[in-house]
């Protein structure tokens, strides 16, 4: 089923032409943004000079650092009056990344989600329970607006409180959910302990699972545990949030909406494009955003383009599930975390040292080991517990995820330069 059949099955030459047109318009729009003005001066490239996708490498990259340095509104391409909504990434000690939406942007984002819903067979007769965090996180509102566009009954449950999630499903006949892979497992486990067989007692039939990468095996496990179809969903705050790429009923890769995003795969070290089908870092250019389009944004997500047509008939190319990151960012419970954030928080607490170790295990259990500074030890067990709680709470405020904190002896953690030794990731997603 198609939401916008003509656009979704547009023949390749027409799609390429549309991309080019929108790319030129976007570059033109970006000439108003001082940051991009400077970048264009450096390369000396004018919008009219962009003749095809092959000219993309002549345009400058945009990185996460650029967004942080230009926080709060240095990359805004319209006046503040035209901004309808703001979403940001997490983080309070470092600068977060802000993304602005105009009224049209909010609607366009919703249209892309609507495409995804229809693509997987969801209709206005479905009941959609959004089990992702609302608030500044795009997974909440962006998916919500898309579901409303399709006409589903939308239940904005947010995450957690499995008891209440179940009650909503039972009372309102939820058929489709949006959830992280780790929470999907917790919920399946919760149902099993209650002796509830989803296939028999619930109306659930589909789940959009995303916000963190997971394997094909994990998909199958969730499908078996909940008795539903699971579809992979990819997005990032900088490109609206969810809805950048989505699986169709074939479950054979995620279609990237190429009328909205120019897709490139580059070598993460050199920035040069890789040959068709080769793995590399995905670079995205938003060509249908008004308030804050981004040119050649380095996503740091590693994937490859799946060559060849898709049986569903859509001409927008597919990408593989994300295989990893080209930086040291972690995703825990759907939230992006940089080890440097943890380091900054620890530096602000004098009773502990700067060394730390992050241990990830199970589905989403995160433990941060920190060293007690000998000078601050006063012999009281109670004070140690308070310190541990203080560290956990400060980390939660910064990361939006509360880790377990272990106090260890000074000098017992590995002293290391690279991230490789700071994080031990034994998760089974």
């Amino acid at each position: 089923m198609f939401w916008q059949q003509e656009m979704e099955t547009l023949d390749r030459p027409a799609l390429d032409a549309l991309q080019l047109k929108r790319l030129r318009e976007t570059v033109h729009r970006l000439e108003r943004v001082p940051f991009y003005q400077r970048k264009f001066l450096e390369t000396g490239l004018k919008p009219e000079e962009i003749k095809s996708a092959a000219d993309m490498p002549r345009l400058p990259f945009t990185t996460a650092a650029d967004l942080r340095e230009n926080y709060p509104d240095g990359l805004l391409a319209v006046s503040r009056q035209e901004v309808l909504r703001l979403h940001t990434s997490s983080g309070t000690t470092g600068k977060p990344k802000a993304l602005f939406f105009s009224r049209r942007d909010v609607d366009t984002a919703a249209e892309l989600i609507a495409r995804a819903f229809c693509m997987t067979g969801v209709t206005r007769r479905d009941v959609f329970q959004n089990m992702m965090s609302y608030g500044l996180f795009t997974g909440g509102l962006v998916m919500h607006y898309g579901a409303e566009k399709v006409g589903c009954m939308v239940i904005p449950s947010g995450p957690g409180t499995s008891e209440r999630q179940l009650l909503l499903m039972q009372d309102f006949g939820t058929t489709v959910i949006h959830v992280t892979p780790s929470y999907a497992f917790y919920f399946a486990d919760f149902l099993e302990k209650k002796g509830i067989v989803p296939r028999k007692s619930l109306a659930l039939r589909k789940a959009f699972v995303g916000a963190e990468p997971y394997t094909e095996e994990t998909r199958r496990k969730i499908e078996a545990a909940l008795g539903i179809d699971v579809y992979n969903s990819y997005g990032l705050t900088e490109m609206n949030g969810p809805g950048v790429a989505f699986e169709c009923e074939g479950k054979c890769g995620m279609h990237v909406w190429e009328d909205n995003f120019v897709l490139e795969i580059v070598n993460p070290a050199t920035g040069e494009p890789v040959s068709e089908g080769q793995p590399g870092e995905m670079v995205l250019t938003s060509i249908n955003r008004e308030a804050m389009p981004l040119l050649r944004y380095r996503t740091r997500d590693l994937t490859s383009v799946i060559p060849g047509p898709c049986a569903c008939g859509r001409t927008h190319r597919r990408i593989q599930r994300i295989s990893g990151r080209s930086d040291d960012m972690l995703i825990v419970r759907g939230v992006n975390i940089f080890p440097q954030q943890i380091e900054r928080v620890l530096m602000s607490i004098p009773q502990i040292g700067r060394n730390y170790l992050i241990q990830l295990e199970g589905l989403d259990e995160m433990t941060v080991k920190v060293e007690l500074s000998p000078e601050s030890f006063d012999g009281q067990v109670g004070h140690l517990t308070e310190l541990q709680n203080l560290v956990a709470e400060k980390l939660r405020a910064e990361l939006w995820v509360r880790p377990k904190v272990d106090l260890v002896a000074s000098g017992s953690l590995p002293v290391t330069e690279g991230k490789a030794k700071r994080v031990i990731d034994k998760r089974s997603l």
Binding site: L372, S373, P374, F377, D378, G379, Q380, V381, L384, T385, D406, L407, V408, A409, S410, G411, S412
Partner: protein, 142 residues
């Protein structure tokens, strides 16, 4: 001023920690007279009554072990029913709270080692009430 110093040591709650700490102390000839360990989850605090608390603390700190001195009062009482009760009552009537506490009887002498908010005050008070509050030196010849 009859307060006694205990050595408080931070240790992770895993095998080998007690061995490591006692090893450091043995190497500098420290004799442990009394030991308590309070553990909480992944770590614990050891409190030791030793023959030379300053030396013990230095030796541990030098090895990177978090150790500090804690002031307590060591009170002697008769080895009979009701003795501890009189000490407790005395402290209660002056609104003094017993925090961490260890008690033992050795060579017919009953000693209770108490952590309180104001050890000097508490010590003076108990002395006035006729209790024998030990000096550091006296704890070593119990």
């Amino acid at each position: 001023m009859n307060t006694v110093k205990l050595v408080a040591v931070f240790a992770e709650n895993r095998p080998g920690q007690a061995a490591r700490i006692t090893g450091i102390l043995a190497r500098v000839d420290i004799n442990i007279r009394c030991i308590t360990v309070a553990s909480s989850g992944t770590y614990g605090v050891m409190k030791l009554l030793v023959n030379d608390p300053d030396l013990a603390c230095r030796a541990l700190n030098q090895e990177g072990v978090a150790a500090t001195l804690v002031d307590v009062i060591a009170v002697e009482m008769a080895d009979k029913a009701g003795a501890l009760h009189s000490v407790a009552e005395c402290l209660a009537s002056h609104n003094i709270n017993l925090a961490n506490t260890t008690g033992f009887v050795v060579n017919g002498r009953a000693i209770v080692v108490i952590e309180v908010q104001e050890p000097v005050q508490a010590g003076d008070l108990l002395t006035k009430q006729g209790f024998h509050v030990l000096t550091q030196k006296e704890t070593l010849t119990v």
